[in-house]
């Protein structure tokens, strides 16, 4: 089945030739971005195709949803952004307009105010992320909703996104393998283990210092979370574990491109998307400790014209240890 793009209720296929479709998903993030090109000769201006118009991509059912970010009638270039990105810059306020670190309250306020087009059928968390939130309106500074959810999810060992039904959700990385990949050339892998044990220093909500140690292998890396604000033991543990997995040495740090023929069962390429775990069944792990390395996809770009999916593993851009630690809110000591 072909992918069809609907902008503001108008099917692109009803307007004229279009193509160069690329569908990008991210984890965390869910639906992230779409680019496509409408025949520039049309120089089409259409009352429904305006910025922020809802965008649907269907492959049978809905595959991707978002809003129109940019359409240039002269070049015909279309860029749509996923609903996930509406969380950027939206303030994290509760229904009374007070700052909050309760994920549910902040999301619900943003939905009811029309700041985001999300739906929240299930709870993410009704517990304040920050311990000093209990008094309400504790800080002068307003958090951004996206940043709050990033922080909260990191503390829970989860990631969050907005799916093709506009549903905001959070989940741990899957452990079950969705796709088995064959006939790949080995993607760039780190090979060296950058951290085998993480020793973290942090402060709780009353300001007391504490040490959390995760892992047991060498090398030992010390991380300073004391500037990350008051934390809980669970939040620190989740961050340390994320650092360990991203720097384990078995991690794949580079991307690779797949065709249908490289996926066992030759599925329709639209089913390959970020957030799924894949295994490279004919490769060895970079640290040579095992076969068939598996990892969760962090970015997938389905290039519909070429019939390929560019895959980048989750956390892959963080090539060096310092960057990995920083992404978790710490500082390498």
């Amino acid at each position: 089945m072909q992918a069809e793009l609907n902008i503001g209720g108008v099917w692109l296929s009803s307007l004229g030739p279009w193509g160069s479709l690329k569908v990008e998903d991210r984890w965390p993030g869910g639906c992230y971005q779409i680019t496509a090109t409408l025949d520039p000769k049309l120089s089409l201006r259409h009352p429904a195709i305006v910025n922020d118009a809802p965008v649907r991509l269907t492959v049978a059912g809905d595959r991707w949803v978002g809003t129109l970010y940019d359409y240039d009638p002269e070049s015909g270039e279309i860029t749509a952004q996923g609903y996930y990105r509406q969380g950027d810059g939206v303030p994290a306020l509760n229904s009374s307009g007070m700052t909050t670190t309760i994920p549910n309250a902040a999301i619900d306020r943003a939905i009811s105010s029309g700041w985001v087009d999300w739906r929240r059928p299930t709870s993410l968390s009704s517990v304040p992320y920050s311990a000093d939130d209990s008094t309400g309106d504790a800080t002068a500074q307003v958090n951004a909703l996206g940043a709050l959810l990033d922080e909260w999810a990191a503390g829970e060992g989860k990631r969050w996104g907005v799916d093709e039904q506009r549903v905001v959700y959070a989940a741990t990385d899957p452990t079950a393998i969705t796709h088995m990949i064959i006939n790949t050339t080995a993607p760039p892998q780190s090979g060296q283990r950058a951290a085998g044990t993480v020793v973290a220093r942090w402060q709780n909500s009353s300001g007391a210092y504490a040490t959390t140690i995760r892992g047991s292998a060498r090398p030992v890396v010390t991380v300073d979370f004391t500037n990350a604000g008051p934390l809980t033991s669970n939040q620190v543990t989740a961050r340390c574990d994320r650092i360990l997995s991203a720097s384990s040495g078995a991690a794949t740090v580079g991307g690779f491109t797949l065709t249908r023929n490289q996926i066992v069962g030759r599925p329709h390429l639209s089913v390959v998307r970020a957030g799924q775990r894949v295994a490279l069944v004919d490769q060895a792990t970079a640290d040579l400790s095992g076969l068939a390395p598996s990892f969760v996809l962090g970015i997938t770009v389905w290039n519909v014209d070429e019939g390929t999916v560019e895959c980048t593993p989750v956390d892959a851009p963080d090539l060096d240890l310092a960057a990995i630690i920083e992404s978790q809110g710490g500082v390498a000591a």
Binding site: E4, P17, V59, A60, G61, R119, P121, T259, P267
Partner: protein
């Protein structure tokens, strides 16, 4: 005559052709030059991957590019004024917007016209001083055409409705002489029907698989017993002693105590083996209800070396249990370690002749009931066919590996026009989800019914697709459902027919229509779905490769119990359970199930919902191999519906499935079991569909009114290069707003694969039909079309 090209009013003829008189009047004419013609078939994109697993590259074929052509032409004027007029006429026509159609006629005119749809034409003038003096100008036309040229006539074809089969009676079973309870094509247990006769008198009577956990221990002189699954087909106990011992000593193993079913005599049988010159025997003891031994030990003396021990033993008065103690006695001492193996023990009723994994005789077989370690065996005797008025009937035992066959040894000749063998009859209520299979002398592999209508009171009509030819015998078997308990069923056959097609599915609101596609290349087609009284408010059109053994609708494969509903699409309603049921919702034959990615769509109606809540539909998939044996792992896919209110009715995608779970290569006994459940609320399923995402196309239209007589998906045409959706309100076609198109599919008909159209509507009074019109497309030049379908 020679070849000619024309484009609107421009006619390019080779120089020696044509009536020039008219040309003289207008002052110019065009010529087609013979040199430098270039026309190339559209090239297909291929993706080559250097395979790491094999030598060479793996090639996958992609889409086609445009067809390029260069055509040299000349403008010839009577004078320079005519030449200028001609040049201007050429440019005027070629600059017209949109697709320019170049019509090619072959030199002898026998083959039909071919139309090249040029998306771009570049007329490059090739100036020559000499030719200007001759009032001639040469142009090289460079064309970028649509990939496949087409016929100049549009073909209309009515979808061959898969509904309303015509039956040809083969056998009304007024005589039973051709019928039997044994398949002449097979041998052994599977060939015939069986009736249960007697059960074992001791539970766990056969020890072949279960010996280790049943409490067998080593006895006198034995140093160790080992459960060995490696050397026997079903495993055995090896008793051994490593040190030398006296010649006459016995090496014992002890059995647990077996519970007796009654006071009758028991046939005790064992098979024993030794690498040494040994003789065998068995000691046995009776126990009363208090667990105390009754009387002395009894012994069966050895019979044969390396062989079987058998005796009829009569329980002592008051005995409720028996234990047995097989032994070997070695006949000489040569200083080696000793061992022997107990291959099998059987305690059963007298008169049975079963020896475990040996082939049963023609008159008796055994089967297992229940679960391992807690099982009984049942002795089977041949079932006989009973003939009544206009029917044959057979009652027999159905279990994994034991089928209930009814065979007919007389010729039957399916043809390409009537390819379905249809058996009609009844099945007992014990088989709520009957698994039927047909073998014919033409095809020894069993075929699952392509359609099975299964009415109330056990009436069935099973449609089996068969190759054309004369079969000398057929045999229909009732096979045990996957994981089903054994049962005794009665199968009756009242009629055998040949049918032209499969029966309509459900209430006639959905149907599969096969289109006969002409041409050699994929063609854009206009598809029309019509329904006299109005198509309703939901119309789904799915096109895919021709596949006689598959329908996207799942209701024909439904095995879960539902209720009848004449207002629905499927004629069934099924309340989706809120947790995974222990049995399947659907079981889909692997015969027609292509390995692909499928979108699972369902028409569901929810009630008692909370507004805005997510309801997750889960689908567990499991492959069953032969005789309903679960095979491989299960996987579960999910999809969700967000409730719009406390009630929610929709046709929605509720999952993406990769099927089959395990590819059995279209094995006839292969089944795909799907179990559907939902996370909460009350959801009633009408119908579900599997749409192939790789090779199919789906459109979903919600007409503005349910009363429109048809929905037309107009193919892209030279006049309007985009596909459009129309509804017809009776006065003419009205283009549908985009908002009424829920899912947009671009439909093409490919003669290489054929085309099945599956149409679905929710019309109040269904009489669904499908037609298509299209210009057949060709690799390069058009061929004659079938006459009866020219419009």
């Amino acid at each position: 005559m020679s070849a000619s090209f024309s484009c609107d009013e421009l006619v390019f003829l080779t120089s020696d052709d044509g009536d020039r008189a008219a040309d003289e009047a207008q002052g110019y004419h065009f010529e087609l030059l013979g040199d430098d013609w270039e026309m190339t078939s559209a090239e297909r994109a291929i993706e080559a991957i250097q395979s790491q697993l094999f030598d060479g590259e793996a090639i996958s074929e992609g889409s086609y590019g445009n067809m390029p052509a260069t055509i040299p032409v000349a403008v010839v004027g009577v004078d320079s004024a005519g030449l200028a007029q001609g040049s201007a006429a050429l440019t005027r026509v070629l600059r017209r917007p949109g697709t320019r159609q170049f019509v090619y006629l072959a030199p002898d005119g026998a083959s039909p016209a071919t139309v090249f749809d040029a998306l771009h034409v570049k007329p490059a003038m090739q100036f020559s001083d000499v030719r200007e003096n001759q009032n001639r100008r040469h142009y090289l036309l460079t064309l970028a055409c649509k990939p496949f040229p087409r016929s100049d006539t549009e073909v209309s074809t009515q979808g061959e409705p898969v509904a309303a089969p015509t039956f040809t009676l083969v056998d009304d079973v007024s005589s039973s002489s051709a019928w039997s309870a044994q398949d002449p094509l097979r041998t052994g247990v599977a060939s015939r029907a069986w009736s249960p006769a007697r059960y074992n008198i001791a539970t766990n009577g056969l020890v072949s698989d279960t010996i280790r956990s049943q409490g067998w221990t080593r006895g006198s002189n034995t140093e160790s017993i080992v459960w060995n699954t490696q050397t026997g087909t079903t495993g055995h106990i090896t008793a051994s002693r490593k040190t030398v011992f006296e010649t006459a000593s016995r090496l014992y193993v002890n059995s647990p105590k077996w519970t007796l079913r009654g006071a009758g005599a028991i046939r005790l049988r064992m098979r024993m083996a030794s690498n040494y010159n040994a003789s065998f025997g068995c000691l046995y003891r009776w126990f009363n209800s208090a667990g105390n031994q009754i009387g002395d030990d009894h012994t069966i003396t050895e019979t044969t070396v390396d062989g079987d021990v058998t005796a009829l033993i009569t329980p002592a008065a008051g005995a409720v249990k028996v234990s047995i103690h097989p032994y070997a006695r070695f006949l000489d001492a040569n200083g080696n370690a000793r061992s022997w193996a107990l291959r099998m023990v059987y305690l059963g009723p007298d008169g049975s002749s079963f020896w475990g994994n040996t082939t049963p005789g023609a008159s008796t077989a055994y089967d297992w009931l229940g679960t391992p370690f807690n099982s009984e065996s049942v002795e089977l005797t041949p079932a006989t066919l009973s003939a009544g008025s206009g029917q044959v009937s057979i009652t027999g035992y159905v279990h994994a590996g034991v089928e209930l066959p009814v065979a007919r040894t007389a010729s039957i000749t399916p043809t390409t026009a009537s390819p379905y063998i249809v058996l009609t009859g009844t099945l007992t209520s014990a088989t709520s989800s009957p698994q039927l299979a047909l073998r014919t002398s033409l095809s020894p592999n069993p075929v699952a019914p392509a359609a099975l209508t299964y009415g109330a009171s056990g009436n069935y009509k099973a449609y089996y697709r068969a190759a054309a030819g004369t079969a000398t015998s057929i045999c229909q078997s009732l096979v045990a459902a996957p994981s089903a308990a054994s049962t005794v069923a009665t199968m009756t056959v009242t009629q055998v027919d040949l049918a032209t097609s499969l029966p309509p599915i459900g209430n006639g609101r959905q149907g599969k229509f096969t289109l006969d596609i002409q041409g050699t290349m994929p063609a854009e087609a206009s598809l029309q779905v019509a329904n006299t009284g109005g198509v309703g408010t939901n119309v789904l059109v799915y096109t895919g490769p021709e596949n006689p053994n598959f329908v996207p609708a799942l209701s024909p494969w439904m095995v879960a119990a539902g209720t009848t509903d004449g207002s629905s699409i499927s004629n069934k309603k099924f309340t989706v359970p809120t947790s995974m049921a222990g049995t399947d919702t659907w079981q889909i034959s692997h015969v027609g199930l292509e390995s692909s990615t499928y979108a699972l769509f369902a028409k569901v109606s929810g009630s008692s919902l909370s507004t805005g809540a997510a309801y997750t539909f889960s689908t567990r998939q499991q492959t069953y191999y032969a005789s309903g044996t679960p095979y491989g792992e299960t996987t579960t896919s999910t999809g969700k519906i967000i409730a719009a209110g406390t009630g929610h009715a929709d046709i929605a995608q509720i999952g993406l499935l990769r099927l089959p779970t395990i590819d059995t290569n279209h094995r006839a006994g292969g089944l795909e079991g799907l179990r559907l459940w939902v996370s909460g609320g009350t959801w009633v399923l009408d119908e579900a569909w599997l749409f192939d995402m790789v090779s199919g196309q789906l459109s979903h239209i919600k007409p503005f009114s349910g009363g429109y007589a048809n929905i037309t998906i107009k193919a892209a045409s030279p006049d309007f290069p985009q596909q459009r959706f129309y509804t017809d309100d009776g006065d003419g076609a009205i283009r549908s707003q985009d908002g009424r198109v829920q899912i947009w599919g671009n439909h093409r008909l490919d003669p290489a694969t054929g085309c099945d159209v599956f149409a679905i509507c929710d019309a109040a009074t269904p009489d669904l039909s499908v037609s298509a019109s299209y210009f057949p497309r060709w690799d390069m030049f058009a061929a004659d079309l079938a006459d009866d379908e020219d419009s």
